[in-house]
């Protein structure tokens, strides 16, 4: 139980570090750590498949992509001109307001029962696979289109065309 709170604390801490660190590369690294804590959460929830996927996709693929682009564009120095403090403050306040209201509108939730694993095995690959390929077959297939689109697009946009003749 306390593990959860500890990991949650870590998550929040590194998330904050991510957005407040000036150096983009550091940001990425903090984000990696945050994602790692998320993986821990998934494990705590017995969502093993997700934990694995999260570990691979996010920490492995996506983060590498970010880093790669940062390096590619030579942005690894903290060259970013920061927004003025006022904007920052407003941003934080707005975010806090959002949090308050989100929290507020959820806090009315009377029930506060702890999570009980009715069916602790759902997070296992096998179980998930059954659902994924029966009920959610269509979205699964369709998401291939999404990925295809993204692929075509990424290639299309990122390809460095020779200057027009």
């Amino acid at each position: 139980m306390s593990v959860f709170y500890f990991v949650a604390f870590l998550s929040i801490f590194f998330a904050l570090m991510t957005i407040f660190t000036k150096n983009p590369v550091h940001s990425v690294l903090y984000l990696v750590i945050t994602f790692f804590t998320f993986t821990v959460h998934y494990i705590l929830l017995n969502a093993q498949f997700l934990a694995v996927v999260n570990f691979i996709v996010y920490m492995g693929a996506i983060m590498v992509l970010f880093l790669f682009v940062l390096m590619l564009l030579n942005l690894n120095k903290d060259t970013e001109p920061l927004k003025s403090n006022l904007v920052k403050l407003m941003g934080v306040i707005a975010g806090a307001c959002l949090l308050l209201t989100v929290g507020g509108s959820l806090r009315v939730l009377e029930i506060s029962q702890p999570i009980v694993m009715k069916n602790p095995d759902i997070g296992l690959v096998g179980n998930l696979g059954k659902v994924l390929f029966s009920d959610f077959l269509l979205p699964f297939e369709i998401s291939s289109i999404l990925l295809l689109t993204a692929m075509v697009g990424a290639v299309l946009l990122a390809k460095n065309e020779p200057k027009k003749a």
Binding site: A8, H41, Q113, I115, K118, L132, A154
Partner: protein, 109 residues
């Protein structure tokens, strides 16, 4: 495995919701206060991740695998989005030599 399950047994659902909200908000704040497009995208990833965790928590809570399947789709989206987004950033960077969103203000009014 047993210990893990036991560990989580005591955590109220509310706390998961609150925790995810916090992460989500941190993502929002990140979007708001940063000018570097890449970091903004990272903040958005944070938001998506908070949703993922929330879905998983709900899924675990109700014992329904659909939530976790949904998380899978979100991850697919995240991947697609990052790919496209970074491609756009690269493209924009080629033209403007900047990833500062404040430079994006020719279209206005």
């Amino acid at each position: 495995m047993e210990t893990i399950v036991e560990n989580i047994q005591g955590v109220p659902l509310n706390h998961y919701i609150l925790f995810c909200s916090i992460i989500f908000t941190i993502g929002v704040i990140g979007v708001l206060i940063r000018r570097n497009v890449i970091i903004i995208m990272m903040s958005i990833e944070l938001m998506l991740n908070s949703v993922n965790l929330l879905l998983t928590a709900f899924s675990a809570h109700s014992g329904d695998p659909a939530g976790q399947v949904f998380v899978f789709f979100i991850m697919a989206l995240a991947a697609a989005e990052v790919a496209v987004g970074l491609a756009i950033i690269v493209m924009v960077y080629r033209n403007t030599r900047s990833v500062d969103i404040n430079a994006l203000n020719r279209l206005r009014g």
